[in-house]
């Protein structure tokens, strides 16, 4: 018998006396005091014939476990409501990402076009020098091929139109040159960097 038990008895009979809050705090926080409270209630229930025919000693703990689970689920639900918001921001980014990419691509394209015009003008101005350089290379190549073969005929490169003009009386050289140009053109189709050369060394359709 303790003073606390006496207070509990008094409390259960709705006479909390002084410091009712403190007593309730003690009751809520002390599991042994709760066991005693249940037994005190049970005494009254038995006397009034209110006790069920079969009591379940784990009933209240099952109820409280379900309540705790619900509270946890609610907490999880709150987290879940935050998650869609985060997902929404992610989704919006995913939705906007292609447009952002398009915007970047468009910007790059605009810059490229803007820079291309001056470059084109510059390249137009230097066309003659480039052609002459190319012609020199072609002449050297032609000389090497001629030296490798038995061709003795003279070759002439026409400066205009960037076309090769090989005299019809030197079919061997013409054949070699044409073979070279065909091969070169095939490479130029797959290699972007060779496009200018391919353009310079275009195959003569009149041949």
């Amino acid at each position: 018998m303790t003073d606390l038990d006496d207070k509990l008895s008094f409390l259960l009979d709705d006479h909390p006396g002084e410091n009712a809050d403190a007593k309730l705090d003690e009751l809520i926080g002390d599991i042994n005091l709760q066991y005693r409270m249940r037994r005190y209630h049970m005494i009254g229930e038995v006397m009034r014939h209110e006790l069920p025919r079969a009591i379940d000693t784990s009933f209240h703990s099952n109820v409280m476990a379900r309540i705790r689970d619900e509270n946890l689920q609610q907490s999880a639900g709150q987290t879940a409501t935050e998650t869609p918001a985060r997902n929404a921001s992610i989704l919006s980014w995913i939705t906007l990402k292609p447009f952002a990419g398009l915007a970047v691509a468009a910007s790059v394209a605009m810059v490229t076009v803007a820079l291309w015009q001056p470059l084109k003008q510059e390249s137009g101005q230097n066309d003659n020098s480039l052609v002459s350089a190319d012609q020199q290379k072609i002449q050297q190549l032609a000389k090497q091929q001629i030296q490798g073969g038995v061709v003795t005929a003279s070759t002439k490169v026409q400066p205009l139109g960037m076309r090769w003009k090989v005299e019809r009386e030197t079919p061997g050289l013409q054949q070699k040159l044409n073979a070279y140009l065909v091969t070169h053109t095939e490479y130029s189709n797959s290699m972007q960097s060779l496009i200018p050369q391919a353009r310079v060394a275009g195959f003569d359709s009149q041949q």
Binding site: D13, A20, Y35, R48, E50, D56, H60, M64, R66, E70
Partner: protein
């Protein structure tokens, strides 16, 4: 301060977020709610489930409880409605008689026909009843009278003091001593 004020204080705490206070209310009213649901549903397991659901529903709705009625009246109404809804949803026949919610707690009904799936619990309950009645029988007369007037007749401390012609402090002491003696016999069964 009546029972209702203690309940009101516990309810206030639950509404403030103290789940432990609801645990006290569940422990206090669990058997009464089970008995009430037992008037509607005969199966013991179903009765337990419905009683649990009733407490869960009451917990969910406790923020809407304004204290216009007593907590236990409100709780009993939830339990009765839960049991009725259960019967309706399962399309089962009710016991065949109408029991008012306010009277259900006093109604004995057809308890003899109930099914109890757990013989251990049945045996334990019988032991508890026997132990308590035997302990009461062995109490000194003043303690026996005090606890009987309090628990069985529901008199207040003031009324008991008047009936027994003694101070309220003495009533308080006698009631507590009676409980303590009975509890000493009861405790080993529940540990």
């Amino acid at each position: 301060m009546g029972t209702n004020l203690l309940d009101a204080e516990l309810v206030k705490r639950v509404q403030a977020g103290d789940t432990g206070a609801y645990d006290i209310l569940v422990q206090k009213y669990q058997h009464k709610v089970i008995n009430l649901v037992g008037r509607f549903v005969s199966d013991h397991a179903e009765c337990q489930d419905i009683a649990q659901d009733s407490f869960i529903k009451a917990f969910r709705a406790i923020h809407n409880f304004r204290g216009d009625s007593q907590f236990y009246t409100w709780l009993y109404r939830i339990a009765a409605n839960t049991a009725k809804n259960y019967l309706a949803s399962r399309a089962r026949k009710s016991p065949g008689y109408t029991v008012d919610v306010d009277d259900a707690q006093h109604y004995e009904g057809e308890s003899g026909l109930k099914e109890y799936s757990n013989p251990e619990n049945l045996l334990l309950t019988d032991e508890i009843k026997t132990t308590i009645f035997n302990a009461i029988e062995n109490l000194p007369d003043d303690l026996k009278s005090a606890i009987t007037l309090r628990e069985l007749d529901g008199l207040s401390y003031e009324e008991i003091a008047e009936v027994m012609d003694c101070p309220i402090g003495t009533v308080r002491s006698r009631i507590f001593r009676a409980r303590d003696v009975i509890d000493k016999e009861l405790r080993p069964l529940l540990e």
